[in-house]
């Protein structure tokens, strides 16, 4: 389970006047066995929020907990229990897939014998046999993505976070990832994924929070979102939501 209460993050500049409120008072709750989507256009604060959950960044305000562990005070306990896959993360290109999994397994403190067994299982589960012993710099984008997913799940985390993980993938590779997200949900894991693609949300999410300019402009079930917004397609509903948020923000600014 992930709990966020009034979480805020400001990127400060040396002069102070250009400070950016990347995340502003965001609250939500992700339950185990459900897929939670974080939806928002580029620069809405999704990655910053996920980086705070994965303890890479610290919030300036509010409270963030993963499985009851505080993301700031008990960051190591949080990291033991999460798997974080981000579109910007790369692979050590001189290492093979197997060596990559071995290395990350060691960083997670998995004993050698267990790790070997786990890698064998993952090779089968994610269909990595063909390229597991090839340098990751010499395999295709889709194959790399599968290695990265295996790397994320090597320690069997209870909470899995995917940050724009389908970016750059072809249709088949993206579908493979979507299947994995579903499998994680079915295994009772807490799944949180961020995207700016409305179609993915409609396909996968049970719950959704929409971020825009760091603010939370919607939080609820995907069904409620479909019903509450005007528009023929999901994309139209999403754009409608953003435009409403923008006009509200303008009114707010004018009243100040």
């Amino acid at each position: 389970m992930i709990e966020a209460k009034q979480v805020g993050k400001i990127f400060r500049t040396s002069k102070g006047k250009d400070d950016v409120r990347a995340v502003d008072g965001v609250s939500f709750r992700c339950e185990p066995g459900r897929v939670f989507a974080l939806l928002g256009p580029n620069g809405s604060g999704k990655t910053t929020l996920l980086r705070m959950i994965s303890t890479l960044m610290s919030p300036d305000a509010g409270e963030l907990k993963v499985l009851g562990f505080d993301c700031v005070k008990e960051s190591e306990e949080v990291r033991k229990r999460i798997g974080f896959l981000t579109g910007s993360a790369g692979l050590h290109e001189k290492l093979s897939g197997r060596e990559t999994l071995e290395f990350f397994g060691k960083l997670h403190g998995i004993p050698s014998a267990t790790l070997k067994k786990k890698i064998t299982e993952m090779v089968e589960e994610f269909d990595l046999t063909e390229f597991i012993d090839r340098a990751t710099g010499k395999i295709s984008m889709g194959q790399k993505q599968r290695i990265m997913i295996a790397r994320t799940l090597i320690h069997d985390p209870e909470v899995v976070i995917f940050d724009e993980a389908t970016t750059g993938l072809d249709v088949l590779a993206a579908k493979g990832l979507i299947d994995i997200i579903r499998a994680c949900r079915d295994a009772g894991k807490t799944v949180l994924f961020s995207t700016h693609i409305m179609g993915e949300v409609a396909l996968l999410a049970d719950d959704v929070t929409v971020l825009h300019k760091g603010r939370q402009i919607y939080s609820g079930s995907i069904e409620d979102l479909k019903e509450s917004q005007v528009g023929e397609s999901m994309e139209e509903k999403f754009i409608n939501l953003l435009e409403t948020a923008d006009s509200n923000l303008k009114k707010e600014m004018a009243s100040c």
Binding site: L56, S58, T86, A89, F104
Partner: protein, 390 residues
């Protein structure tokens, strides 16, 4: 084709003109390198020659019972100081540095006229060689004056002063040290730096840029654990570079067929061990500095530029150790990198005081520890800014 080429060239120029660091490295640094080097070496040369001109050559003489002529000469040229000594004092006086040249004189009388056979003893260091040359000039002048005096008096003409030889009292090791020590230290240290640099940039800034560091940071492993692993790796690569350089020197010596005058066995086990420990400390210093530079860089390119600038600083400071006459002074002991280079040179020649050696070692270790402490504090205080790709 030409239009595309021109557009491409224009775009590259536009980009580079906005990249201050690249401009600094490719234009300003090369532009300033030689003038700066020439200013530094000129200043050093001036100081050296001023020191030499002020210096008094001390000469000890044995067997010249009445050295009035010598002392008279001393009156007109204050650069020379004379002292009487016995032959058995020779080695002690030369070793202590109290005497630059020792003259061993044997007097013979032929037809009632004195003839002196002179043998010179000296160390072929820069200082010793200059002193030796000064004494040779003096003896030739003295001999000419004596010959002229005898010719005028129509006296029996016999060679009044005959130089029967000159003996260099430096050991083969000391000669090797003064001949190869500076150059050897220069290349070993410079290549140790480039060895560390080759991997430090990629292992820190490269991992940050590729996003692999971020993947490691979301594991329970501590960053300091990961960082120390990387640091040890950089040190190993620096040491491999050192060993390869030494291997290259050995190949060069074999190539000369042993005629190069270079023999590593002359240096001795203890001194070699001392050099090895010093190199280890120096590689640790390089590794911490380069790792810090790289991890603080926002991109791989920035890390490369920073390291290249540091490489230029290292190369410039190392030039001092190959300039003839520059010795390990108390002030040089405090200059990191140069102090190690001068110490290696001194160890090579067998003239390194133990206290100075430990001072250099401690300075390098303390500086490395301080850099490590600083970067670990910086990471703890601003983890996001330092470790994450912005």
């Amino acid at each position: 084709m030409l239009a595309v080429m021109w557009a491409s060239l224009k775009k590259e120029i536009r980009e580079v003109m906005r990249d201050k660091r690249t401009l600094l490295l490719t234009i300003l640094v090369p532009l300033g390198f030689y003038p700066a080097m020439s200013l530094m070496t000129k200043d050093l040369e001036q100081k050296q020659s001023a020191k030499m001109s002020e210096r008094v050559v001390t000469i000890a003489v044995s067997g010249w019972e009445d050295d009035t002529e010598l002392r008279m000469y001393n009156l007109v040229d204050s650069k020379m100081a004379w002292k009487s000594a016995e032959s058995d004092q020779m080695q002690g006086l030369l070793d202590s540095g109290k005497v630059d040249v020792f003259l061993e004189v044997e007097k013979e009388t032929v037809e009632g006229y004195d003839q002196r056979k002179v043998k010179l003893h000296y160390f072929s260091t820069i200082r010793g060689t200059i002193a030796y040359q000064d004494v040779m000039v003096f003896l030739t002048a003295l001999k000419t004056a004596e010959v002229e005096k005898r010719l005028k008096g129509k006296e029996y003409l016999i060679n009044p002063i005959e130089i029967i030889g000159a003996e260099n009292h430096l050991t083969a090791r000391e000669i090797s040290g003064s001949k190869y020590g500076g150059m050897g230290a220069y290349f070993i240290i410079f290549l140790a730096f480039t060895g560390c640099m080759a991997v430090a940039v990629d292992t820190a800034a490269g991992e940050k840029e590729r996003g692999t560091l971020e993947a490691m940071l979301v594991t329970p492993a501590s960053f300091m654990g990961v960082a120390f692993g990387k640091l040890v790796f950089i040190i190993i690569m620096g040491l491999i570079s050192v060993l390869s350089t030494i291997g290259g020197i050995v190949i060069m010596v074999i190539g000369y067929g042993g005629d190069s005058g270079f023999n590593l066995s002359q240096v001795g086990f203890i001194s070699l061990l001392g050099i090895a420990v010093l190199l280890l400390a120096l590689v640790l210093f390089f590794a911490t500095i380069l790792f810090t530079f790289s991890i603080l860089a926002k991109s791989n390119k920035e890390a490369h530029v920073r390291s290249s600038m540091l490489m230029i600083v290292v190369a410039m400071s190392l030039v001092y150790c190959i300039i003839p006459g520059v010795e390990l002074t108390k002030s040089i002991l405090w200059v990191p990198i140069l102090n190690a280079a001068m110490s290696i040179k001194a160890l090579w020649g067998g003239a390194m005081p133990l206290a100075d050696y430990f001072q250099v070692l401690v300075i390098l270790l303390v500086l490395s520890a301080l850099v490590l402490l600083w970067i670990s504090r910086k990471v703890n205080a601003d983890r996001e800014k330092v470790l994450l790709k912005q």
